[in-house]
């Protein structure tokens, strides 16, 4: 029942918000906090009470041939937690920035969260697919209604059609495997996958990978991403970057890898490597901070995908930690970006400077986030990247060396961005009004979170461990 509650509570609160638009912020926050508590309860139940799986299954829905089956397992628990943690921040961001039609914005965010949690909870491949797609619709309306970009319709068209087109390949792959499977339940699909020939597995893998590569995004399917991140209102960008793309990496980890153990994945791994190198090089040349984060995000998630593709316990541990860490830091980064944009009206780094002179606190908190993003030891970024690189290296050292550049290049452009914006002197600096206490609070939490995870990663790793072994046994 816990799983069902996690899925329905945001949707129910979305309806409540539409019924009582005056109370939208309170309702949205209340709903998201209830969800957060439930997610934590799920995590605790999983790790300490040793209840192996928290499941819900309606039985087969005859008309559709699918199960409405939900499950919290040790793979999904962390991502459910991530989604539930990010949601209140997104709501806070949306009420902070948008005066117009705030209730609609909150309701759409709640629906989006519901769909994304649905994808993480789904224990049925078709249900996963449906949730994966449904999550697109709220963000479609969010970007169209609240984006200030004049090209937003073209950007949304590209984003939406691209993702939809990609996921149709996943649908084909799912249907193909379904021919040999007893049902769409993920476990049934996985056991059916074993009976496929290596060639069939490769084709199925390709179908899945194209779908996920668009969403993650991996070069050359990434072209929708920077502009969409730039055009979306910050609350939407946070949801996209921190949670939505994790649906793809999660799907890769949960469904595709166990389903196609014999598939040839070399090409996909090279795409990820190219993606990492390419995104880092492009990020070096960005002068807009939001675009810089967008490209650095491509590099980071490319790393996650590469790690997952190498398969193995270390890689899966690393991928899960890095997914959480990346989501968390994306929140911090985009929050900082939002603070800059609300104060300056733009995010052009060359027109900023000297913020540290009168805002030392902000500068310090931002510095901590930057350090976590470039994977300095004792931050959460380090744990994930280390485990991932370790796993990639044991598989193919050349790939590891190329991908390792991500850390160095990342340090270059991130530090340079910090330098340009925070240090030096500039007459613009005086415009940067002091941080409000909420802003201090949010950034403080982000920094505290990343440090905690960096120093004591076992907090999450212990939970993950058991489930990972379960999935690794399929490889």
């Amino acid at each position: 029942m816990l799983t069902l509650a996690l899925l329905t509570i945001p949707a129910v609160f979305a309806l409540l918000i539409w019924i009582l638009p005056q109370q939208s912020k309170r309702l949205a926050l209340a709903g998201s906090f209830i969800n957060l508590i439930l997610a934590v309860v799920g995590l605790v139940a999983l790790s300490y009470w040793k209840i192996d799986l928290l499941q819900f299954d309606s039985g087969v829905i005859g008309g559709l041939g699918m199960h409405f089956a939900l499950e919290i397992n040790s793979t999904s628990a962390l991502l459910i937690l991530l989604g539930s943690v990010i949601l209140p921040f997104a709501i806070h961001l949306s009420s902070k920035n948008e005066e117009r039609n705030n209730a609609n914005f909150h309701a759409l965010l709640m629906l989006m969260a519901s769909a994304m949690l649905g994808a993480f909870l789904a224990n049925d491949a078709l249900l996963f697919y449906i949730c994966y797609e449904v999550a697109l619709i709220p963000i479609y309306f969010i970007i169209l209604q609240w984006s200030k970009n004049e090209h937003r319709t073209q950007i949304v068209l590209k984003f939406f059609v691209y993702t939809l087109f990609g996921s149709l390949f996943m649908l084909m792959a799912l249907l193909y495997v379904r021919q040999y499977a007893a049902s769409f339940l993920i476990n049934d699909m996985i056991s059916a996958g074993a009976s496929l020939s290596a060639y069939e597995q490769s084709m199925v893998f390709a179908g899945f990978f194209i779908a996920f590569a668009v969403k993650i995004p991996v070069f050359p399917f990434h072209t929708w991403q920077p502009k969409t991140y730039q055009a979306a209102p910050t609350a939407g960008t946070v949801m996209l970057a921190a949670v939505m793309l994790k649906m793809a990496t999660y799907g890769l980890l949960r469904i595709t890898m166990p389903l196609t153990p014999a598939a040839s994945k070399e090409w996909a791994m090279w795409l990820c490597v190219i993606s990492i190198v390419y995104a880092n090089i492009v990020a070096l040349n960005q002068r807009h901070f939001k675009l810089l984060i967008a490209y650095s995000s491509i590099a980071h998630v490319g790393m996650i995908a590469l790690g997952i593709l190498t398969a193995g316990t270390t890689a899966y541990n690393g991928a899960l930690i890095e997914m959480v860490s990346h989501g968390w830091l994306a929140l911090g980064m985009f929050y900082v970006c939002d603070m800059l944009i609300t104060r300056y009206g733009h995010d052009d780094m060359h027109k900023m400077g000297g913020i540290r002179q009168n805002n030392a606190t902000f500068s310090f908190l931002f510095f901590a986030i930057v350090m976590a993003s470039v994977a300095l030891p004792t931050t959460s970024g380090f744990v994930g990247e280390f485990l991932l690189l370790n796993s990639v290296g044991s598989r193919n050292i050349f790939m590891a060396i190329l991908a390792g550049l991500t850390v160095i290049f990342g340090a270059v452009y991130m530090l340079r961005a910090f330098q340009t914006m925070m240090l030096g002197t500039s007459e613009n600096a005086v415009h940067f009004s002091p941080m409000t206490s909420t802003e201090k609070f949010v950034l403080g939490i982000v920094v505290a979170g990343t440090l905690t995870l960096g120093v004591y990663p076992n907090l999450l790793l212990d939970v993950v461990q058991k489930g990972i072994e379960l999935y690794a046994s399929h490889i």
Partner: protein
């Protein structure tokens, strides 16, 4: 039987109201009669022993549910179009034509005899020829009606020729007898095969599938928008139901033997229509091509041995979306060249309804269109037509592109646009239909219970 009576009496009643000059109550009469019709269907459900006049018409559950779907579509069509017809001079005449055409659809759902099929097709089509040309002073509307009439008559003639040849081969018009004769080995004859081919050709024209789809964009574009909405929903649904009744029934052997040909027809329909739709700038033409592409999906369902429930679900979900889409186009048409641009600012309800309708047509979950397409695709996978499945999925992606391109226009900003005010009933009908597109998805879970 009651169902046939009530629809034909309704047509006469509408004319009588015209003669008695109580035109204001016509719409109420029609809606009440449709509601009663649905009531009768529910009442007679599972009451299977009602053959009428030597199996001329057979009212079984198949006929009931098809008729029920038609009635629902017609019901919403009448409500939505009411504002447009309110001040129309020939309102009752047009309403009477629509009701008579609805009678034809009723026959096509229940025929047990090829003669009744032909009668049904003609009763359905002839009023629509008139309706298509009902904007008397508009050249495009005249062209549309004329084109539809000429080509439609040719198709009817081909259909009739086919029926005659089938009669020649089997010595019967009765579906059950034909079915028996074919099972005893009559399908070896060229005459039967030729007859079935000609009947199929007639139907391909009626459902606007390739290669007989060329008329559709011109006719859809030229006809008054509400007539187009009627053509793309009820006329199409009736033709598809009649087609299924024949080709999933007595002529099933033909589909089985010529699976490849049907596959090519469906594939060609999908590819041609979706490619053409990509190039359209006029939203009505785009919707016309989209209507053709849905015919392709339905043809595929025929090969995949889809159940009639699957097909009716597809028809209902497509029709609801199509009613909304054409309806919104009509509401905004007064504005001029790019009527849909900036609609969100002028009327958010219409804008959201339009977006959701096009999402549904594009087959994006959680809307009914996705489930409808999913059913068909699932059946195709089980029938091992994987190439066709790939075509269906790839053309769906093309579809998503042009649907969204239109749907996105409503969110563009334009200056000094006046608000569009809708009557309350119409506004709530749009909201209801939009919710129905989500509700049908939920209902789909119970489809196997029927």
């Amino acid at each position: 039987m009651k169902e046939l009576l009530i629809t034909s009496l309704l047509g006469i009643g509408v004319l009588a109201f015209d003669i008695l000059r109580i035109r204001k109550m016509v719409l109420g009469l029609i809606l009440a009669a449709l509601a009663v019709l649905v009531g009768f269907i529910v009442y007679d459900w599972n009451n299977l022993n009602l053959p009428f006049e030597q199996n001329m018409l057979i009212y079984d559950n198949f006929a009931y549910i098809a008729l029920g779907v038609f009635a629902v579509i017609a019901f919403f069509w009448f409500i939505l179009s009411s504002a447009y017809f309110k001040n129309h001079e020939g309102k009752t005449d047009l309403y009477a034509l629509v009701v008579f055409s609805f009678c034809g659809a009723g026959l096509m759902a229940a025929y047990g005899n090829l003669v009744m099929l032909f009668l049904g097709v003609e009763i359905l089509s002839i009023p629509v020829y008139v309706l298509a040309a009902s904007k008397k002073h508009n050249v495009l509307s005249n062209e549309s009606g004329f084109k539809y009439f000429i080509l439609g008559s040719v198709a009817s003639a081909v259909l009739l020729f086919g029926i005659a040849l089938v009669y020649g081969a089997t010595a019967s018009f009765d579906l059950a007898t034909i079915s028996n004769t074919i099972m005893n080995g009559a399908h070896e004859t060229t005459m039967l095969n030729l007859g079935v081919t000609l009947i199929l050709t007639g139907f391909l024209f009626k459902i606007s599938a390739a290669p007989f789809h060329i008329w559709t964009p011109d006719v859809y574009q030229g006809a008054p928008t509400w007539v187009t909405a009627y053509m793309s929903t009820l006329v199409k649904a009736a033709a598809v139901v009649a087609l299924f009744k024949l080709f999933a029934g007595p002529f099933h052997y033909f589909v089985r033997d010529n699976g490849m040909t049907f596959g090519i027809l469906a594939g060609a329909t999908l590819i041609l229509s979706n490619t053409a739709a990509l190039l359209q700038t006029d939203v009505k033409r785009m919707l016309a091509y989209s209507s053709i592409s849905h015919a392709g999906f339905l043809l595929a369902a025929l090969i995949g041995n889809a159940s009639i429930l699957t097909v009716l679900f597809y028809l209902l979900s497509y029709s609801v979306a199509s009613l909304i889409a054409f309806g919104v186009v009509k509401e905004t048409q007064i504005a001029g060249e790019h009527p849909l641009t900036g609609l969100y600012r002028r009327n958010p309800v219409l804008a959201i309804a339009f977006s959701v309708a096009l999402f549904s047509m594009a087959g994006i979950p959680p809307f009914a269109g996705f489930i409808a397409k999913y059913y068909v695709i699932l059946q195709m996978v089980e029938a091992k037509y994987f190439t066709l499945v790939v075509i269906m999925i790839l053309t769906s992606a093309m579809g998503a592109f042009y649907y969204l391109r239109s749907a996105l226009g409503v969110f563009k900003h334009i200056d000094n646009a006046g608000r569009i005010v809708l009557p309350a009933t119409v506004k709530y009908t749009y909201i209801l239909l939009t919710l129905l597109l989500v509700g049908l998805t939920v209902a789909a879970g119970f489809l196997d219970r029927i």
